[in-house]
């Protein structure tokens, strides 16, 4: 057997780093995300030259410059649209979109929803820091209400998006959430996003320590994380809490938080099923302000996954079927048309 000699040399995270100096602010959550992406890439089974990272504009959109793959730093909000064309033309490429809450949900919101409904087989990494970092600190479409920023000195009055609900509304086939401060979970989610065939929407909570420091502290800090987060695992009951003593039960369509013990066992709890769209809708709506009494913990992990044909596959099939039925195009026939006449 000669298979060993044909195998490409195994790559490491280092092979995915470029010689460009990384220019995010020290302490920015983007560093961790970059590190996790570089760690995951060697293991996804795609040759480096077949990986393309496309970004829009914003702090996160510097990402392609730091990845030794093919990449394009495009224009504000349009990464998803650029990726659509690339993927339609070159289905064999592994296309990753790096965008942010401003880039992907504000100026580029239209492309994001259309990308999701068409279900190109790409991975959308939406770095959500709930602020505009590159333009130096204005509120974003995911900033909480009453946010005081440079452009909202009296507090913002916009209601924020729930990004996952938006993705669900746009018929996304893979919806997940992770965070910069949980490398293990983030690596797992990146891998899952890659494995999903279709448009994977992965929201990543990312701390902007300059303009919105601590926005997700309550989910990331040791002291509160266990109580305030809920890590979803397929086929497992929804359990959380420092002592893993709390769970979520379904009372009809209504989720309720229960204490385990005293007549409530894990068997009574809601069992996570990524393929259940109704349950996914409820999980996505566990989005209440952690400052409110009686709020739910914030779920992380894969909320929903389903299978639907990808745009680029359907496009290719249509072309192949037409050629199979009619034969390849003949330029001379086309130019000649059906009715001609001759002048001597």
């Amino acid at each position: 057997m000669s298979t060993l000699t044909n195998e490409a040399p195994l790559l490491t995270a280092k092979d995915f780093a470029t010689d460009q100096e990384v220019r995010w602010c020290p302490g920015c959550g983007d560093y961790s995300i970059l590190a996790q992406v570089q760690k995951v890439m060697p293991g996804i089974g795609v040759p480096k030259e077949n990986i393309v990272i496309i970004s829009g504009i914003g702090c996160s959109s510097r990402f392609p410059y730091y990845m030794n793959t093919y990449g394009m730093h495009s224009i504000h909000g349009r990464a998803t649209a650029v990726a659509s064309g690339l993927k339609a033309a070159r289905p064999e490429l592994s296309v990753w979109i790096v965008t942010g809450d401003g880039d992907g949900l504000s100026i580029g919101g239209n492309h994001t929803i259309h990308m999701l409904r068409r279900n190109f087989d790409v991975n959308i990494l939406l770095f959500n820091n709930q602020i505009y970092g590159l333009t130096k600190g204005q509120y974003s479409p995911t900033s909480e209400e009453h946010k005081v920023t440079k452009s909202t000195p009296f507090g913002s009055i916009d209601h924020p998006f729930n990004p996952l609900a938006l993705a669900m509304g746009a018929e996304a086939t893979f919806i997940a959430r992770s965070m910069d401060r949980d490398p293990k979970n983030l690596q797992a989610m990146l891998t899952r996003a890659h494995q999903h065939r279709g448009a994977s929407f992965l929201e990543i909570y990312q701390n902007c320590n300059i303009f919105n420091d601590g926005a997700f502290e309550i989910f990331t800090e040791k002291s509160t994380k266990a109580e305030e987060t809920l890590f979803l695992e397929q086929g497992k009951p929804l359990i959380f809490g420092a002592a893993q003593n709390k769970g979520i039960k379904l009372d009809g369509f209504k989720p309720v938080v229960v204490e385990l013990g005293e007549g409530v066992s894990a068997d009574d709890l809601w069992i996570h099923d990524e393929r259940d769209i109704n349950k996914a809708q409820l999980l996505i709506r566990m989005f209440d302000n952690p400052k409110n009494a009686g709020h739910f913990p914030r779920p992380f992990g894969v909320f929903y996954e389903t299978d639907r044909p990808c745009y680029e596959d359907l496009l290719r099939m249509q072309i192949e079927e037409t050629i199979a039925a009619k034969g390849p195009g003949n330029l001379d026939k086309l130019l000649r048309g059906n009715e001609i006449w001759e002048i001597q």
Binding site: G85, I323, L334, R336, I343
Partner: protein, 615 residues
């Protein structure tokens, strides 16, 4: 009664009726019939702005003008010899373009009290009866009644369906009037209604009834013949502008070996290119109806980055939305063909009317110093060559290019001496897949003698690289903010576009002496009108010449010299003076403008008057 035959040189017919009267079909059938006889022609359809304007009203009038001749034809004609008016509104809209003494073929049923009221004829007095048409030859036919009579035996057909065939009666009558046979239309109907035998039979019946009506009715004593034109020898077909443009793109895809990707958002009058290219899956063409104009161009940029022949098609408002992405394409230095089928502006403007008012937008309408080549088509069939050239320039110079056409060209038709694929120059293009001698590392912005950077596409091992919209260092393509580098890159991008002038033909005079009194300079769809006007004046012995510019940015290298050989330069445009300003700016020439911006083409007649003022 003995029927008389008259030989004519040149005829202009306008078919006009309500949008539902099938005048576009009638006109195009008559056109094909004419073309197949080897008669030269040009057409111009005139659509209502609303899809379904109220029936019988002036805004609902749809028209189709065809100019045919045994001489060469360059325009659809300034004024008509024959007006077909299916209702009162159609007469009202088109009468002013009928020449004195011209013929009016009317459907009398379209002049009943209701139609007169809808067309705003005061007090319901019919122009057919009040003597106002005395200076014309009116041929009044109750087309509706005769159509119904012809279809008496078609019991399955409802009245509505029967009435729908009345355009065939008119067409048949005109075929009789111009000594034609019915074969091509019968073939067309057979094809179209192959699955609806009753509709097919009824249409053929009515077509023949119209023909026979002319033949047997005593009142009509004269038929007319136009002989075939002296066109260059070869095989011809009839072609419309947007169709030719689509074919040019397909041909360029085949001859460059690049798969076509079209990203487009529907917009009048460009949508037909999206429709046309979407048909040709057998050529492997990928068409993508994007969510908006911005996605249309940016998806195309993505496809071009991946090695496709990237094309995006739109009209003026769409160009405005695409501007930022064009800037990205300039920075990325990747090939892209951006097609603007111009229409009346600004804003939504006059979507179905024609204008040449986006030239400045094409030239300058982006942020930053953002040079892009611009090329323009001048007639329907010229769209083929121009599209082909646009692709050649884009892929061989690694640049986005703007192709300007307009609604007048897009929907106009003319005979086309089509090429064979073997006659088309191959378009050489290659991806970078190996390092040249002496190269140790791939440098995405290292340039060749044309100042063109290499095209390395994803999937090529060892050539991984990042590109983007930030200013970049020459050679390496790394982000770079240094002052000298920016100056250098701005200059280099300009020089790269300027250098295209070395790879395009010199400007030729279309007609006239090399030195003389007046040079008329045009671009785009004014071609036919300028050519006809200039030829008329040349025939009278005047030293007038005509140059029509296809390559607008950069201009052909000899254009400046050419302008200086004339006492006067006149630049007619369907805008407020755009090319004329660019010419003055680049060549310090005292060019005069002639502008009209009414949503309609410039006519030969008005140009003759204008040029005469300079003689």
């Amino acid at each position: 009664m003995e029927k008389q035959q008259v030989l004519l040189n040149d005829v202009v017919i306008k078919f006009a009726g309500d949008s539902g009267d099938g005048m576009q079909l009638t006109g195009s059938q008559f056109t094909n019939n004419t073309a197949l006889l080897g008669i030269d022609l040009a057409t111009f359809p005139d659509f209502p702005a609303e899809i379904r304007a109220p029936i019988g009203t002036v805004p609902g009038v749809s028209g189709f003008q065809v100019h045919f001749s045994s001489e060469r034809v360059y325009t659809p004609g300034d004024i008509c010899d024959v007006l077909v008016a299916m209702n009162a509104a159609a007469l009202k809209v088109n009468l002013r373009n009928l020449k004195p003494g011209g013929k009016i073929v009317v459907n009398t049923e379209g002049f009943d009290a209701r139609n007169l009221r809808l067309a705003n004829y005061a007090d319901g007095i019919s122009p057919l009866e009040d003597g106002s048409l005395n200076s014309y030859e009116v041929i009044a036919i109750d087309v509706t009644k005769l159509t119904r009579e012809a279809l008496k035996e078609f019991a399955d057909l409802g009245m509505k369906e029967k009435d729908r065939a009345k355009n065939m009666f008119v067409l048949g009558f005109l075929y009789w009037m111009y000594n034609r046979d019915l074969d091509n239309t019968i073939n067309f109907l057979t094809d179209k209604f192959s699955k609806k035998p009753t509709i097919l039979q009824s249409n053929i019946k009515v077509l023949q009834a119209g023909f026979n009506y002319g033949d047997t009715t005593e009142t009509f004593s004269t038929t007319y013949t136009v002989e075939k034109a002296k066109l260059p020898a070869g095989k011809y077909r009839s072609i419309m502008g947007n169709q030719a443009l689509s074919y040019g793109l397909i041909a360029a895809g085949e001859k460059s070996g690049l798969p076509i990707f079209l990203g487009s958002y529907p917009i009048t009058p460009a949508s037909d290119i999206l429709h046309e290219l979407s048909k040709y899956k057998t050529f492997g063409i990928r068409t993508f109806q994007a969510e908006d104009e911005i996605a249309a161009i940016t998806s195309t940029i993505g496809a071009a980055y991946g090695g496709s022949l990237g094309i995006t098609t739109t009209s003026g408002p769409g160009m405005a939305l695409k501007a930022e992405a064009m800037g990205l394409a300039v920075m990325l230095e990747i090939p892209l063909v951006i097609v603007n089928i111009q229409r009346g502006g600004p804003s939504t403007g006059l979507p179905t009317k024609t204008e040449q008012s986006d030239l400045m937008q094409a030239y300058y309408g982006r942020n930053g110093e953002c040079p892009m080549p611009v090329i323009a088509s001048s007639t329907p069939s010229d769209c083929f060559d121009v599209a082909y050239e646009a692709v050649r320039i884009a892929v061989q110079h690694m640049t986005p290019i703007i192709l300007l056409s307009d609604g007048y060209i897009a929907n106009g038709a003319e005979p086309w001496k089509f090429p064979t694929s073997a006659e088309l120059q191959p378009i050489d293009v290659s991806f970078k897949t190996t390092l040249d001698e002496g190269e140790v590392k791939f440098q995405p912005y290292k340039r060749d003698e044309k100042l063109v950077r290499p095209w390395a596409v994803p999937g090529t091992p060892g050539f991984e690289h990042r590109i983007g919209g930030l200013e970049k260092q020459d050679i390496t393509g790394n982000i770079n903010y240094e002052p000298e580098n920016h100056q250098h890159m701005v200059n280099t991008r300009q020089a790269k576009v300027d250098k295209i002038a070395d790879y395009i033909p010199l400007q030729q005079l279309d007609s006239g002496p090399e030195k003389g009194k007046v040079l008329v300079v045009g671009w785009g769809s004014t071609y036919g009108a300028i050519k006809s006007a200039v030829m008329e004046l040349q025939a009278k012995g005047h030293a007038v010449s005509h140059a029509h510019i296809r390559y607008i940015r950069p201009f052909p290298k000899n254009l400046g010299e050419m302008l200086k050989n004339f006492d006067h330069v006149l630049v007619p445009e369907i805008n407020n003076g755009q090319l004329v300003r660019i010419l003055r700016d680049q060549y310090f020439v005292d060019a005069k403008a002639y502008n009209k911006i009414m949503g309609v083409p410039i006519t030969k007649t008005e140009l003759v008057l204008e040029i005469e003022k300079m003689l």
